[in-house]
């Protein structure tokens, strides 16, 4: 669906995207994960034909970005970052507008049902909540029946409940076979929705591949936290690579496991003796930390 080879985009002397290569397969959700200013939006704006690359080869839906950018624009659905629509049109009218532009007036009902916009279709856009606005935005991107969708930080600024609703909707789109390119700085979002992801920092890709591979390879070790006594010390001491008194919870010990089989045996052993065990699995956050040496905070900033 998308092939990018050695893409570079500069603004004057500033290198926003630095020699990146990746491919997006048909029917997958591919995420660009990175902090603010990493080059995620610039990359997808190049893919959408909105920005001309400084160098590199970019092919979207079989069309060359330099020569056939108009054809690409006709066949993609886009929900940009900080998306906005006509404020004094209703949710339905905004989707209807895009449908009419693309000659797909008959698809409006279907999209209203799929996105859940039907419930508030008669409300003016300016009176909608953040989550509702995002749903309208995704509806507007969908109604042209584009096989390829770009969602640029679709849940930034939303409350947890709305965020989950949007995730459910993106999962529905995935089931319908849409190819989705998503940008995000939320680990949970990328982990839940993506088939594959690229970690992008300062315009460079630090990792690309399946999210599960990233977690397994870089997500750290399994940790078990159990109440401290002779039994737990014996079980964890036998199976874990390292055992120490927990910092987070007084009166408990933590076992670090490099091998999942040992962790499993320890969990079974502890459960058989009726101990409450807290299991901390390798996470995408930990993987990101390993790859970048930093964390991303809620606002999308990189913090060390």
């Amino acid at each position: 669906m998308i092939d990018v080879e050695n893409l570079t985009k500069k603004y004057g002397e500033f290198v926003a995207v630095d020699d990146i290569s990746f491919a997006v397969k048909s029917g997958e959700v591919f995420s660009l994960l990175g902090p603010n200013g990493a080059g995620k939006t610039t990359t997808i704006e190049v893919l959408q034909g909105l920005k001309t690359p400084t160098s590199g080869k970019v092919n979207v839906l079989g069309y060359d970005i330099y020569r056939e950018e108009k054809k690409i624009k006709e066949q993609i659905g886009v929900m940009p970052q900080n998306f906005n629509a006509f404020e004094r049109l209703t949710a339905r009218e905004n989707i209807q507008l895009i449908a009419e532009i693309y000659g797909k007036g008959d698809k409006v009902e279907e999209v209203l049902d799929l996105t859940g916009v039907k419930e508030f279709q008669s409300k003016l856009y300016l009176n909608l909540s953040g989550g509702m606005k995002t749903k309208v935005g995704i509806g507007m991107a969908l109604v042209s029946e584009a096989p390829l969708l770009f969602l640029d930080e679709p849940t930034t600024g939303l409350d947890p409940q709305s965020r989950r609703e949007v995730w459910n909707m993106i999962e529905k789109l995935k089931e319908l076979g849409k190819t989705i390119v998503l940008t995000s700085h939320y680990m949970e979002e990328v982990e839940r929705l993506s088939d594959r992801a690229a970690v992008i920092i300062n315009g460079q890709i630090k990792f690309i591949g399946e999210v599960s591979t990233m977690i397994n390879d870089y997500g750290g070790n399994v940790k078990l936290i159990a109440p401290k006594d002779e039994v737990t010390e014996a079980i964890l001491g036998q199976e874990a690579k390292r055992v120490f008194d927990s910092n987070s919870k007084e009166g408990s010990i933590t076992g670090i496991f490099t091998d999942k089989k040992n962790a499993k045996r320890a969990v079974i052993g502890l459960y058989e003796k009726d101990y409450e065990v807290k299991i901390i699995e390798p996470s995408l956050e930990e993987a990101f930390m390993t790859l970048s040496g930093s964390k991303i905070n809620e606002e999308g900033e990189l913090v060390t």
Binding site: F86, R88, L89, E93, L97, E100, I101, G103, L124
Partner: protein, 50 residues
């Protein structure tokens, strides 16, 4: 042409639903016209002789 018409329709609808938009683009200029006509209108030519 269809896209142009759809966009035109949306723009007009969006504008018509904005009360302040309508006031400042239609009623306010008329109001100004009426006020200035009332204040400065109907004045006779004044002739000065030295």
């Amino acid at each position: 042409m269809n896209s142009f018409y759809a966009l035109f329709k949306a723009l007009i609808k969006n504008w018509l639903r904005s009360k302040s938009g309508i006031f400042f683009s239609i009623l306010f200029p008329i109001l100004l016209l009426v006020i200035f006509t009332a204040v400065f209108g109907g004045q006779e030519d004044v002739e000065y002789t030295l």
